[in-house]
């Protein structure tokens, strides 16, 4: 295995692979582990993981591009994903997205120049009772208003 992953990640990857009768089945969870460490999945990681899981690099690329959670480009320290699906939109998601764009001075899919925030929309997060909601990295925030968004962002260092 390539030396660029930490020992902890290498150990976790080995543990995950052992859960399946076929190595390639570990691809999705292994991509999560690599992204957690490196922040995104570039061609170098695709090639490396292909070697590790006995796949062709294109088979890894197919998966990385199919699933929305794998970042092919670096994202900010905090990835803000605002739900733009029905229940959240009924309760004003669009105005919050506009508010965040203004507040951060970026468009959807962009990262602030200090690399702190990336802003995207996301389809239903499965937290419709807390609509409108968003995810910052893996933390959920619901019943959002401009005021609560200000408070949440102020607490992120």
């Amino acid at each position: 295995m390539s030396p660029e992953f930490s020992d902890q990640t290498k150990q976790k990857i080995a543990e995950v692979i052992a859960r399946y009768p076929q190595k390639k089945a570990a691809l999705l969870p292994v991509l999560h582990l690599v992204q957690q460490e490196i922040g995104h999945i570039s061609a170098a990681e695709e090639i490396q993981l292909a070697g590790l899981l006995e796949l062709k690099p294109i088979q890894v690329r197919e998966v990385v591009t199919f699933y929305t959670m794998y970042n092919r480009q670096p994202v900010g320290k905090y990835h803000i994903q605002v739900c733009s699906n029905l229940s959240c939109s009924l309760l004003g998601a669009q105005s919050l997205i506009d508010y965040l764009k203004d507040k951060l001075g970026i468009d959807l899919g962009e990262t602030t120049s200090d690399k702190k925030f990336t802003l995207t929309t996301v389809e239903c997060l499965g937290a419709c009772e807390h609509a409108p909601c968003m995810m910052v990295n893996f933390d959920y925030y619901g019943k959002l208003s401009k005021k609560t968004i200000d408070e949440i962002l102020d607490h992120l260092e």
Partner: protein, 417 residues
Amino acid sequence: MAEKLLTKLFDVENAHTIDIYIQKNGYRAIQKALKEMTPEQILEEVKAANLRGRGGAGFPAGVKWGFVPKTVDKPKYLCVNADEGEPGTFKDRYIMTHNPHLLLEGIIISSYCVGIHTAYIYIRGEYEVIALRLEEAIAEAYAKGYLGKDILGSGFDLDVYVHRGAGAYICGEETALLESLEGKRGNPRLKPPFPASIGLFKCPTVINNIETLANVPLIILNGADWFKQKGLPKDGGTRIFGVSGMVAKPGIYELPIGTPLKDIIFEHAGGMKKGKKLKAVIPGGMSAPVLTADEINVAMDFDSLVEAKSMLGSGAIIVIDQDTSMLEVLRLVAKFYSHESCGQCTPCRIGNAWIRKTVDRMANGAGQKGDIDNIIRVASNILGKTLCPLGDAAAMPILSITQKFREELESHIKGQG
């Protein structure tokens, strides 16, 4: 208040930990199942209970298990569907967060019944925090000897693993879920063969929703007749309805199957938000055909919703008020399905993209005469013409919105054409 079965422990502090769960009579069902019952007896009980799948399709769980060949020289697998991507649906999140051991008990009993020794819980990638909670619960169950080798001295072995998805609605479809678990794009498979004979790693596989499996321990402890009494004879038990949108009290409500939709919205969920007026309801997740305000006198069970030309689906109720534009609802539905189509079947890939383009144009004030007829024509040509149900899931709400709210949609086009 209705009797709580699945959600009984949700308000009990730390009920997600194994000690509290056992204190509240947890893990009694596996004692009974593994020590006093044969796999055949369990299968008969679950079949008799008429436990229908809670993920959306409503297929009877016992019948599904019965399709798996009894003697086969390959391993068998259980895939637990925790993808929960149907817009409006959030019930399984509650079960996994507040009562993960009830789910594990259901997994153990189902696996014992079918002769399965490996189970994967496929959970949507965004639920990372919940995946960690499940892993903690699994570790606790191993430590008590409820998972692993020779469970309760019965000679039965079972390993359970959590597998996180990575953001793809289609992976809630059972064969796409299998592809995804095998490390591939979530492209649904052609059926037959069905997963019961050729599923995960080409082996016999059962795929059940979280809420479905959570009901199994209750059936084992209390019997099929009891379970049917809690719901309907042909559709046993309760449902955890998720209510969202313009209601006073959005949230989950565990109620007997067959509870009228009107009562769920106006009694349990507190009625409309801030005196808003009801316009439409999506009764079973975004894929379900929309009901107008005049059509909500319907019982929330699989058969009644089919009669009302909609579907119970995942039991996710989205309430739309009079101030909301149905063109905006249509835009969001079209956006979602065009985004989530896996692209494998041409009618779904091209059709949904075309509908989205047309609806976006209407929403931008550039609608043309004939747009609505075109949307209906394209949606009708997706319906029934795709490998998996995503095509239908898109076409059904789109057709119902365009047909039931045609006049309103036309008003956005007037003077443009």
